[in-house]
């Protein structure tokens, strides 16, 4: 069946249907191959992540025994910052693993097949200010169903940026290089406020009462995150400091602020990394955006084709892929969003070869090229105009 406006490829509808059937076969085979090894993988990953988070926080505490107020030879700001930096990095990586390779994928229902009552998409909550259920709506439903459809997929520019020339220019986009950096630093907060409900409200489709209910829900989740990282962990350190302060000078307030700053740094490390990986998924050169009439009456084959043309992969080794939550396999993730992520590297060569046989581009490059062109496009599209990818996508 043809869509109202054809996709930018040199393939007939019959050819696209066959493309879809081949893609479906890869998916079925991968789904059928899941087993013990996958369960072992996710359990080990969770164990590693939790251990890293705990040890990271302990190292941050340990660094405070190097504050210059201590009367021993090693005490200095330099030593404190060095050790705290190791703790921050460890906590940051733990948060990256939790957000990207664990929670993102659990919330995609990738692990529901295990029927493990502790690892289910509908009961999972994650280490992020965005409540899992709201995020699942804006991500799984809006973004994954309407991938890169301008005006439908909120992730096209997140409502504040112009990422394709298909979005009409507006003076507000002049400042988008600034938004880019701010969103990079505060990505967690950005994701929490990234709400279809807000858009609906401003377009008059949602009543203030309904919006208030959702915002309170988001607020409760954000408060729990703030309470943990910026109140309780610093307070626990300050409490110990208050006791020590009775014997040697060790100001509890300094300790409180130091732990708070370290946790903020860990969150920002995670924010920057997640932002880079996610922006490389849909905004580098060569990624296609679509108009609503291109998906009207879309077949399964056309859906697969749109996901392929609308996503981009990043080259890397095994550790890099795990740290990026396998979103470095953004193409495979968009084709098979509920296949467990550790299978993406396995199916990727087959998907790439399939795309090559049908003469469709498979956008895969180094992180420098992908993030470099994302940044370049951000600067260029702040001004009117801009260059669209080729009218016919060819490999």
């Amino acid at each position: 069946m043809a869509t109202a406006k054809p996709l930018p490829v040199n393939l007939t509808d019959d050819q696209i249907d066959e493309f879809g059937r081949e893609m479906e076969a890869i998916y079925d085979e991968a789904m059928a191959s899941r087993g013990d090894r996958d369960r072992a993988y996710i359990l080990k990953l969770m164990k590693t992540q939790r251990s890293m988070a705990f040890i990271g926080r302990m190292i941050i505490y340990a660094s405070l025994f190097l504050l210059p107020t201590w009367p021993h030879a090693l005490a200095s700001w330099g030593a404190t910052l060095l050790v705290a930096g190791i703790g921050v990095l460890m906590l940051g990586i733990a948060k990256i693993l939790e957000n990207m390779e664990i929670a993102h994928n659990v919330l995609h229902a990738q692990w529901d097949w295990m029927k493990d009552p502790d690892i289910q998409s509908n009961t999972w909550e994650w280490d992020s200010m965005s409540p899992a259920d709201r995020w699942m709506h804006s991500h799984n439903v809006v973004h994954h169903t309407w991938t890169n459809v301008v005006g439908k997929d909120l992730d096209v520019g997140y409502g504040i940026m112009r990422v394709t020339p298909m979005q009409p220019w507006h003076p507000k986009y002049l400042l988008q290089p600034v938004y880019f950096v701010i969103l990079m630093l505060f990505f967690e907060e950005g994701v929490a406020l990234h709400e279809q409900a807000l858009v609906d409200y401003f377009e008059g489709k949602k009543k203030p009462k309904d919006l208030g209910r959702i915002l309170r829900h988001v607020g409760r989740k954000a408060w729990r995150q703030i309470r943990k990282d910026y109140l309780l962990w610093p307070a626990a350190g300050a409490l110990v400091a208050a006791v020590i302060n009775l014997f040697i000078p060790y100001p509890p307030l300094t300790v409180f602020l130091a732990v708070m700053a370290a946790n903020a740094a860990a969150n920002i490390v995670r924010n920057i990394w997640a932002f880079i990986i996610i922006f490389c998924g849909h905004f580098p050169d060569g990624v296609y955006a679509f108009t609503p009439d291109q998906i009207e009456g879309e077949s399964k084959g056309q859906w697969y084709l749109r996901q392929l043309l609308g996503s981009a992969n990043i080259n890397g080794g095994r550790l890099f892929h795990i740290l990026s939550g396998n979103l470095s396999h953004q193409i495979e993730h968009h084709l098979f969003p509920d296949l467990c992520s550790n299978h993406y590297p396995v199916v990727a060569p087959r998907v790439q070869a399939l795309a090559a046989r049908y003469g469709v581009p498979y956008n895969k490059a180094s992180i420098w090229r992908q993030f470099g062109t994302t940044w370049k496009n951000n600067l260029r599209l702040a001004l009117p105009g801009g260059k669209l990818p080729p009218a016919v996508a060819t490999a």
Binding site: D36, N122, H137, N140, V141, R224, K228, L232, A236, P337
Partner: protein, 373 residues
């Protein structure tokens, strides 16, 4: 005394507040998730047990000794426990009778499982579970136990692995040194294929109040029952005073049906106590046509065919269940199968295990079914 009580209450309050704060610091997990890294038996967010020993009772039955975590509750002899077992990555839940006595002093309990032909879970437990494995468990449940206070004289009628609740009761009565006059008729293939055979015979030798009648149903080398079927005449012979006893029976459905009939005819139904496990699977209808769909929370029941997805069925019935993509990718419409059978329209896969997650937008009825919605 009063002072001590209020002291304890204050201590409890402080402990509660501390554990709340620890949970807030561990958010979105709980402190228990981090405790689990050190020892899975110390968790409070779920109860787990560690396999500490395995022992073959017969060629295809094995006793698994489990050490439960801190929040375990002692069972009553005859009760059962739900255990979660991961096989090929998938989590299955099954119920097994506890075969040990609650009086065991090492804090462990045992289950004794027979590998059923074609039974994936029982086969896995008997052959693949190994010492050191951790399994999620629930606390003991069930109403198949001897009354505490009233002095009854039990008649146990058991067959095969149906021995387990009776064994737990016998062991418990003996360890409490209050074994009453007991008659036990047990059916097993042959003398070397009796689960707990040696222990039963030992009890019969040591305790004059305990009469054991083993009925062997197979000739050596045969794999089908050829003799020893239950009959009233057999019952009269082994236990002439059966009408004065309370019968506790556990075994295959055929035996239990025959017992129910015999006791009903004698007007003794109230004194027949039966333990049977509900089937965990619904039978798959041979011609997977549609059926009645019941939406449990909404209390709505409608007819559905085998092609219309259940989301559509629910909407046509006036419900508005959560949904998103309507093509099986976003999992917003996930719900739980309470009973019956549904078919995944994409793969043709049949889901018939109670508790299975159903994506309503891509599943249709395959016979009658009940959904959580």
């Amino acid at each position: 005394m009063l002072q001590q009580q209020s002291g304890n209450a204050a201590l409890g309050f402080v402990k509660n507040q501390l554990s709340n704060i620890a949970d807030m610091m561990a958010y979105p997990l709980r402190a228990s998730h981090y405790v689990e890294l050190v020892n899975p038996l110390w968790t409070t967010h779920k109860l787990q047990a560690k396999v500490v020993a395995v022992w073959d009772e017969t060629k295809d039955a094995r006793t698994i000794t489990l050490q439960p975590g801190g929040h375990w509750r002692l069972p009553r002899a005859g009760q059962h426990v739900r255990i979660g077992i991961p096989i090929k990555g998938k989590h299955y839940t099954r119920t097994y009778t506890i075969s040990s006595a609650p009086e065991r002093d090492d804090g462990c309990f045992t289950i004794t499982v027979k590998a059923i032909a074609g039974g994936r879970v029982s086969h896995h437990i008997v052959r693949n579970l190994k010492v050191g494995d951790h399994l999620p468990i629930a606390i003991p449940q069930g109403d198949f136990y001897l009354p505490d206070a009233s002095p009854i004289q039990p008649l146990f009628i058991t067959a095969g692995s149906g021995i387990t609740p009776a064994m737990s009761m016998l062991r418990s009565l003996i360890s409490q040194q209050r074994l009453p006059s007991t008659v036990h008729i047990h059916y097993a293939p042959h003398e070397f294929d009796v689960i707990f055979g040696q222990e039963l015979r030992q009890i019969a030798t040591n305790h004059q109040h305990y009469q054991l009648h083993e009925v062997h149903t197979h000739e050596f080398g045969d794999d089908k029952q050829t003799k020893g079927y239950f009959s009233l005449e057999q019952l009269e012979r082994y236990c002439p005073d059966w009408k004065e006893r309370d019968c506790y029976a556990c075994g295959p459905p055929g035996l239990l049906a025959a017992l129910e009939k015999t006791f009903e005819q004698a007007g003794r139904s109230r004194h027949l106590h039966i333990e049977r496990f509900l089937a965990d699977f619904a039978e798959v209808p041979a011609d997977a046509v549609g059926g009645k769909v019941r939406f449990a929370s909404s209390g709505v029941e409608v007819d559905a065919d085998s092609e219309t997805n259940l989301l559509r069925v629910a909407e046509d019935a006036g419900l508005n269940p959560p949904h998103g993509c309507r093509m099986g990718i976003c999992h917003t419409c996930n719900t739980t199968l309470k009973s019956g059978c549904v078919r995944d329209l994409r793969s043709g896969e049949i889901l018939n295990e109670a508790g299975a997650i159903v994506q309503t937008c891509v599943c249709a009825a395959a016979g009658d079914c009940e959904l959580e919605l």
